[in-house]
């Protein structure tokens, strides 16, 4: 291990840091990565659930003018500003969002009869629920963002300490995947190789994830500690690209959105907006921010700011023409989402996300395996508890997400907004199950259950199609679920084989009659 320049003592400290940051953050990071890898395909999932393709932006734009007019007329709070989400990712039509002075959002969309449909559609939408699990573990409000943001910070520390720790050994072992009789070495090699080979990706995610979750408290801190309470105008300017004008109190008709878009395209040709912000709608000083991605540019969200009344250009901020620091940052944000390169890049992100999830699962297992030397140790209650917690939570999340897809096809659950409770209910059941069984048997059962649940996903599509409610037949999501079912089944089979082995002294051993009474008082389970 010894490397010139790094004291042995330092390495020891970083090993402790790496272990504890991993143990503390590992479980939630597993959920964040697993759900995040699936969120890459949010648009496909939204279409899969709706069973109709997304409306093109041009079609949804027809709803914008009546929607904004009605929202502003009905809700006084929307008169300061109202945002319109256009088809992109989760969104399949136009959705208006506006905020109360305390920051509480309200939502509305347009029904088929032209009436306003108020209310948050998020709890009914599978892709949004999975995205929320990815970003906040489903915990609403600032608490969830701060929790996951802090987890991302701990993850950053785990990365730094992991790199320092394995730097000396890495030059030797990076591409060595010692497949052989020593299963523990294989897991250790896989953990190290995946950790190092996808390191740039992990640094990117720790950083962008943490900043995206924690920007509100961080901006508040910057305002107090750095800018002497003068930070708000800079924030508003950053958010809106112009200084916020005061309303004149004089009503003036707004240009239709089609005309605004035509003006915007004079400045950024081919701009397809995914968000519109109407500030002071209906006032003479009102302006509209059109936000969209610029084709062929790796950078997040170009913006055109126009007067809502005259269409006059107030500001243009192209992703391709930002100051150096800003353009680097906007590419960072774009790199987090991975929606810049079509389906090949989406699949690469999916695989990297799944590999990341594996990293956290294997990290916990390795810590346990390192403590298998003596039989008495492996049945220490806290090793048993961690093994069961890791298996129950991680594999429970896999199971619960597959269950979610099937549940999204059940009108009672999806329309009743019970998707999130379904997820946590499934995880709770998985935890309960793994608490009652030997870890290796719990893992086998949960993987088998995940295989069954995944296989039910295309089945649920078929049922809806056959009963005549659906337009789309088997989509990519169904095929991917089928592939997932096969992988889960193979893993379950592998774990079942492992359960029959008797390596001795590992928490992964299935109990054998000879081992009973050795600190393990539970009744013996029959190994497959």
């Amino acid at each position: 291990m010894g490397s010139p320049g790094i004291r042995a003592e330092t390495l020891r400290i970083f090993k402790i840091v790496h272990t504890w940051t991993g143990l503390v953050a590992g479980l939630l990071l597993f959920l964040a990565f697993y759900a995040g890898a699936i969120t890459v395909f949010r648009e496909d999932i939204a279409e899969w659930q709706a069973m109709v393709p997304h409306r093109p932006t041009e079609a949804a734009l027809q709803d914008v003018d009546p929607l904004v007019a009605k929202v502003v007329a009905t809700y006084p709070e929307a008169r300061r500003s109202v945002m319109v989400n256009l088809p992109d990712g989760h969104e399949s039509s136009a959705e208006a969002v506006w905020y109360a002075p305390d920051g509480e959002p309200s939502y509305a969309r347009r029904g088929s009869d032209g009436d306003l449909l108020p209310g948050d559609a998020a709890p009914h939408r599978l892709s949004v629920v999975i995205d929320n699990l990815h970003r906040t573990a489903g915990i609403p409000g600032l608490a969830g963002e701060v929790l996951l943001g802090s987890i991302a910070c701990i993850y950053g520390l785990a990365l730094v300490s992991g790199v320092i720790l394995y730097l000396p050994a890495l030059r030797r072992d990076l591409f060595a995947l010692r497949a052989g009789r020593n299963l523990k070495l294989w897991w250790q090699d896989a953990h190290n190789s995946i950790g190092v080979l996808s390191l740039p990706f992990h640094i990117l995610f720790a950083l962008t994830g943490a900043v995206m979750s924690l920007h509100d408290p961080m901006l508040a801190g910057m305002n107090t500690l750095i800018y002497g309470d003068q930070g708000r105008p800079m924030l508003m300017r950053t958010a809106l690209a112009i200084d916020m004008p005061r309303p004149r109190g004089e009503a003036a008709p707004m240009l239709p959105v089609a005309e605004l878009l035509a003006h915007a395209r004079e400045h950024i040709p081919g701009l397809t907006p995914h968000h519109l912000i109407y500030v002071h709608p209906g006032d003479r000083a009102g302006f509209t921010v059109l936000m969209g991605d610029q084709e062929g540019v790796l950078g997040h969200t170009s913006r055109v700011v126009l007067s809502s009344v005259t269409g006059e250009r107030l500001a243009v901020e192209k992703a391709s023409e930002r100051p150096t620091g800003m353009s680097a940052l906007s590419s960072l944000a774009a790199l987090h989402f991975g929606d810049y390169g079509g389906s090949p890049v989406a699949w690469i992100y999916f695989c990297l996300g799944m590999a990341g999830a594996f990293l956290f699962y294997s990290g916990n297992l390795l810590w346990l395996e390192a403590r298998r030397k003596r039989r008495a140790q492996s049945s220490a209650w806290h090793h048993q508890a961690l093994a069961r917690l890791t298996v129950g939570f991680c594999l429970g999340c896999c199971l619960a997400i597959s269950v979610l897809f099937v549940a999204a096809r059940v009108p009672l659950i999806a329309q009743g907004g019970a998707l999130l409770p379904t997820f946590w209910g499934s995880v709770a059941l998985a935890l309960l199950w793994s608490a009652m069984r030997q870890p290796v048997l719990g893992a086998r059962d949960l993987l088998a259950a995940s295989a069954v649940a995944s296989a039910c996903i295309p089945l649920s599509t078929a049922v809806v199609a056959v009963t005549g409610n659906g337009g789309l037949l088997l989509s990519g999501v169904d095929l991917a679920a089928l592939g997932g079912a096969v992988i889960f089944a193979l893993l379950a089979r592998q774990v079942a084989c492992r359960a029959r082995e008797t390596a001795g002294g590992s928490v992964w051993d299935a109990p054998r009659p000879a081992m009973q009474g050795e600190g393990d008082s539970r009744p013996s389970e029959q190994a497959v």
């Binding site: 901006l219 620091g325 960072l332």
Partner: protein, 92 residues
Amino acid sequence: MAHELPAKTLAGIMLGMPLAFALCGLYGYLGPGTLQDNYLVVLWLLLPVWTAVMSMTFVCRSGLRAWGWLILGNAAGFGLLALVRHWLAASA
């Protein structure tokens, strides 16, 4: 605890975070570009800088030294930040 990790961790969180604000604040005022241009860069620098501070805290020989260095660092950082702001306000 042999490595005094709890004391170091606490120091890194309670004092390392403000130190990161002070260092990034200095970049905000002195870095290339206007205060406005640097605003978001400061936001993105905060956590990498904090991670670096935190990692260096772990390398400190003892918990007490970690607290000492971080108190000194904060005093220097915020002192410098106040000076720079005062100087810029005077020259504007």
